[in-house]
């Protein structure tokens, strides 16, 4: 980069800008931009930073509720959880880096989302992650799973934030493009929330954290393009994380945030110094002038272009009160972190960048933001899937159950969880696998948070609208099943190339479904991230897109965390099924794993029934009348019952359904809005359900240590557990 380069349309194209976009740059600048200026435009106008393909559709999502303090637009969403506290949370993808370099890609994904949360003044209290990998049969998958799991653990364990939940799917559509979506939840006092809008002309702009190196240059641009066979040669664009520095940065920032020194603060994430400086000044309606000579640097002879585009990790940008800079400097010196005043706010409305006495960039901020491209890309509405015809079970019920609980998407994730520290902090009330949502207590209070991530990509592929609604409904249901009140959602929208009309059609339909579910369930979206171009170019020139994967991160609250319940079967209880069963096998796990078919329409999502059933379940849990609850999802009733049995080793005897539905459809159908619950008195419980208009029926009786099918066939809890536990070790430790 030190040799002189000519800035022209062809370089702009190399930087990911179209000819039309470059034309816009020329008209804003009124001259040919410098290399640094072109770099700033190209990252700010990348898909990753500008949301140019998605923005039009994101506007339609519901984002408001009385308990929402800050919705989309800040570093993370903020909701009121009571007693003066706020939960601050967001989910973000690190998909492309995790394919190129799984360990660092996943690790820096965790680091980045942590910074989005503590930037706002919150102490991070929980991490979750939604992961999608390629087929277990693909030899590459094992390496990626290994690196991603080690990376998430390596970073999260070291910073001391418990990893309490998440989800994992396998599908060949992710072979060349795994998804790593990391979510962080933090807690702050409502009166100590920090925002990013800069204010106060003349106020110092301060850089803290790690030094700037040449890593990750143009990372935001890379994540805005599809992969080709040269993907692995892009390894130098992947950043390297240092969780130790992040831990120091968390503690130093929180210490400084207890003072009145900070005017505005933002982490340097994608597009590093460029996006943090541009966004802070832009939001505050001020100008900003940076002197790059003052930037702490890890490598000699870095150019302005390199420094502005570096994505070195563990860095923050702050605007401070001038009379507090020495106080701030002392705090960062205590934590042995770099602290440098690198500029100040101006009234010019421009970002001005100086380096070694030369003017490297001078860009008006307003047009950089306001004239950023927004596309209404052509789309083709998805066609409705053909209904699934008649299907028949080739095996006995017990054989199919054992096969299902051992299958990749349903097998125990203990091998993964056991590499994540889930207890650090001393507030983890329900660890991974113990309840439908993880439960974390808010220190010094009785408040509990219920946290989950959900999405069923195979439903989204078959019918994006239903799949989008289902992802939201399942998150809501998982929170409800613990007894918590669902509050709000963060989303991570992972899709293919938006320049293809069919992909854009998927995106639009999925958002419609999500939006409708959020509205009916009063479950607004307060933060999120869009990851497009998740496609791999094959050697033959065709491209493989991922399954549309709008991952939903849900957050709920318990006023008294001791009322939370888990999913494990309790002894000597009546087992009751809540919700209507039609036996929907389209796109079911049973159909895929037992018959090898991915066909039909996903189960219908009836949001009114979802709300009615869920509100009833939650009220009964809060009244202490349900002792265990599990939502019925992948694998249907029988898999849900088996999961309850495996969780505690306590068995149950199931009743014959007498439903007129074929057995495989009854037991493995994935109809929505259903729960299995343990209650003391099924009769009284079902009577209350009937009064509330909620379908409920006795399904069995718990006790012993075997799952007893209506046919009399028994499967011991130990045998189920053995089958359930075998998949990951067999895949990973061979």
């Amino acid at each position: 980069m030190n040799k002189p380069v000519t800035v022209d349309e062809s370089l702009a194209r190399e930087f990911g800008l179209t000819a039309e976009e470059y034309g816009r740059v020329l008209s804003i600048m009124g001259r040919t931009p410098s290399l640094t200026e072109l770099g700033v435009f190209s990252v700010m106008w990348s898909e990753h930073c500008s949301y140019k393909s998605s923005r039009k559709w994101l506007r339609g999502l519901p984002t408001k509720a009385p308990w929402v303090i800050h919705g989309p637009g800040e570093n993370a969403g903020v909701v009121d959880i009571g007693q003066g506290y706020a939960a601050i949370f967001k989910m973000e993808s690190h998909n492309h880096p995790s394919f190129i370099e799984p360990y660092q890609g996943a690790a820096t994904g965790v680091g980045g989302i942590l910074r989005d949360v503590f930037t706002m003044g919150a102490r991070p209290v929980a991490n979750l992650n939604a992961l999608r990998f390629g087929s277990p049969e693909n030899p590459v998958t094992r390496r990626i799973v290994d690196g991603v799991v080690r990376g998430i653990g390596g970073y999260g364990n070291c910073v001391g934030v418990p990893t309490v939940g998440g989800e994992i799917n396998f599908h060949p559509a992710y072979d060349g493009n795994p998804l790593v979506n990391a979510m962080t939840v933090g807690i702050a006092r409502q009166d100590r929330i920090f925002l990013s809008a800069a204010a106060g002309v003349g106020n110092p702009v301060v850089y803290v954290g790690s030094r700037t190196g040449r890593d990750g240059i143009h990372g935001a641009t890379m994540s805005s393009a599809e992969f080709d066979e040269d993907a692995l040669s892009k390894r130098p664009t992947v950043q390297v994380g240092d969780p130790f520095i992040e831990k120091l940065l968390i503690e130093a920032c929180l210490e400084l945030m207890a003072t009145d020194a900070i005017v505005a603060i933002q982490d340097m994430g994608a597009a590093g110094l460029t996006s943090s400086a541009v966004e802070m000044a832009g939001k505050g309606g001020v100008g900003i002038e940076l002197d790059l000579d003052a930037v702490p640097q890890r490598e000699p002879n870095m150019t302005a272009y390199e420094m502005m585009l570096s994505e070195s990790q563990e860095r923050m940008l702050m605007v401070l009160r001038p009379d507090r800079t020495e106080l701030a400097r002392k705090i960062f010196e205590k934590w042995e972190l770099d602290f440098a005043i690198i500029g100040h706010l101006t009234e010019t409305g421009h970002i001005v960048i100086k380096h070694k006495g030369a003017l490297e960039a001078d860009i008006p901020l307003e047009p950089l933001a306001d004239e950023a491209p927004v596309y209404d890309r052509p789309s083709i509405a998805p066609t409705a899937p053909a209904a699934l015809g008649n299907v028949h079970a080739p095996l006995s019920l017990d054989a199919m159950l054992l096969q299902l609980v051992a299958s990749p998407d349903l097998a125990s994730r203990a091998w993964v969880w056991n590499q994540y520290d889930s207890t650090v902090g001393g507030q983890t009330v329900r660890r991974p696998g113990a309840a439908d949502a993880a439960i974390v207590k808010v220190d010094d209070t009785q408040i509990g948070l219920a946290l989950t991530t959900d999405c069923t990509p195979r439903y989204c592929q078959a019918d994006p609208r239903t799949g989008g609604a289902q992802a939201v409904a399942e998150a809501w249901r998982n929170i409800t099943a613990t007894g918590a009140r669902p509050l709000a959602v963060t989303d991570n929208l992972n899709f293919g190339n938006p320049e293809k009309p069919e992909i854009m059609g998927q995106f639009i339909a999925a958002l419609e479904g999500m939006g409708e579910a959020c509205k009916v369930l009063d479950f607004p979206i307060v933060s999120g991230n869009v990851s497009l171009y998740n496609e791999t170019r094959m050697p033959d020139g065709t491209t493989q897109a991922i399954l549309p994967t709008p991952a939903i991160g849900g957050l709920g609250v318990l006023d008294d965390v001791s009322t939370a319940i888990g999913l494990g079967m309790q002894a000597d209880k009546d087992l009751v099924l809540i919700g209507a069963t039609r036996g929907e096998l389209g796109q079911s796990i049973w159909l895929r794993e037992i018959l090898g078919r991915e066909e039909g329409a996903p189960p219908a999502v009836d949001l009114a029934a979802e709300k009615q059933n869920g509100d009833f379940v939650r009220a009964e849990i809060q009244a202490g009348r349900i002792t265990a609850c599990h939502d019925i999802a992948d694998g249907g009733i029988l898999v849900a019952a088996a999961e309850m049995v495996m969780a505690t080793g306590i068995g149950c005897e199931l009743e014959s359904p007498d439903s007129g539905i074929r057995p495989e459809a009854f037991w493995f159908g994935e109809d929505q809005a259903r729960y299995l619950v343990c209650v003391n008195d099924a009769q009284a419980f079902c009577a209350r359900a009937a009064q509330a208009g909620v379908p409920a029926r006795l399904m069995g009786r718990s006790g012993g240590n075997e799952l007893i099918l209506p046919s009399g066939v028994t499967i011991s809890a130990a045998r189920l557990q053995f089958a359930h536990e075998s998949f990951f070790p067999a895949l990973m430790d061979k």
Partner: protein, 233 residues
């Protein structure tokens, strides 16, 4: 009992430990930054878990040379009581306040799970609320917890009754070559050791994370209750 928790850069289980100590003493422990050197008036020094200095170089190696550790050595020389958990145990071995070393877990992966510990010696300040042979559950979370010591040191530890806890199964059976009950592969299934005067204890698992029924149990509480009993003034 006046307790102090030492905080190094990268320490991350100091709040867990403070909760456990507050639970048994009714007062917040003193948090001591690693640059400090004053331990006057302190009955118990705790080196908590975490990744001091990022665990770069070797776990605990850099922390062993920080200013506070000089004061901790003096405190030990005067017969002071010290508890080191996880990274704190690693720091104690790196400081030669306890024998042996902690290697990478045998399966070369970070482990975060519940384990069972069998109490090997009673009537120490750390184990007095248990009887020899008692078994209790506790979480563990570490990448480098595989305890080892040379044959001579091991013979001394075993001979002098200085193995405080061993990894076991739920029924108290100890089997060093069984990854199920001895998850990190420690020699003789050793999970915690004591100094010669039995006033310094290092252990890998986290009893401080199991002191509240809400978090799944109180199995770790007797350790802290015993310390209060022993160190009450």
């Amino acid at each position: 009992m006046k307790a102090a928790i030492v905080v190094f850069p990268g320490t991350n289980r100091e709040r867990d430990m403070a909760i456990a100590l507050r639970r048994v003493t009714g007062q917040a422990p003193r948090m001591i930054w690693h640059h400090e050197t004053d331990l006057s008036g302190i009955d118990l020094v705790v080196l908590p878990g975490g990744f001091s200095y990022g665990d770069y170089l070797r776990c605990g190696a850099m922390a062993a040379h920080s200013p506070i550790m000089g004061a901790v050595r003096d405190f030990a020389a005067k017969g002071g009581h010290i508890l080191g958990v996880c990274n704190g145990f690693q720091i104690l071995t790196e400081s030669n306040l306890l024998p042996g070393a902690l290697l990478r877990n045998a399966n070369l992966r970070f482990l975060s799970q519940d384990c069972y510990l069998r109490v090997e010696v009673e009537n120490t300040p750390f184990t007095r609320r248990w009887k020899k042979g008692d078994v209790f559950r506790t979480p563990l979370a570490h990448g480098d917890g595989n305890y080892t010591a040379d044959a001579e040191a091991l013979a001394v530890l075993e001979g002098e009754g200085r193995v405080a806890f061993r990894y076991a199964d739920a029924k108290g059976r100890v089997q060093a070559d069984d990854a199920g009950s001895n998850p990190n592969g420690s020699v003789n299934s050793i999970a915690g050791v004591l100094s010669e005067n039995k006033r310094i204890c290092g252990m890998m698992p986290h009893p401080e994370d199991l002191v509240d029924p809400l978090m799944g149990g109180e199995d770790g509480l007797p350790l802290f209750e015993g310390l209060v009993e022993a160190l009450v003034r």
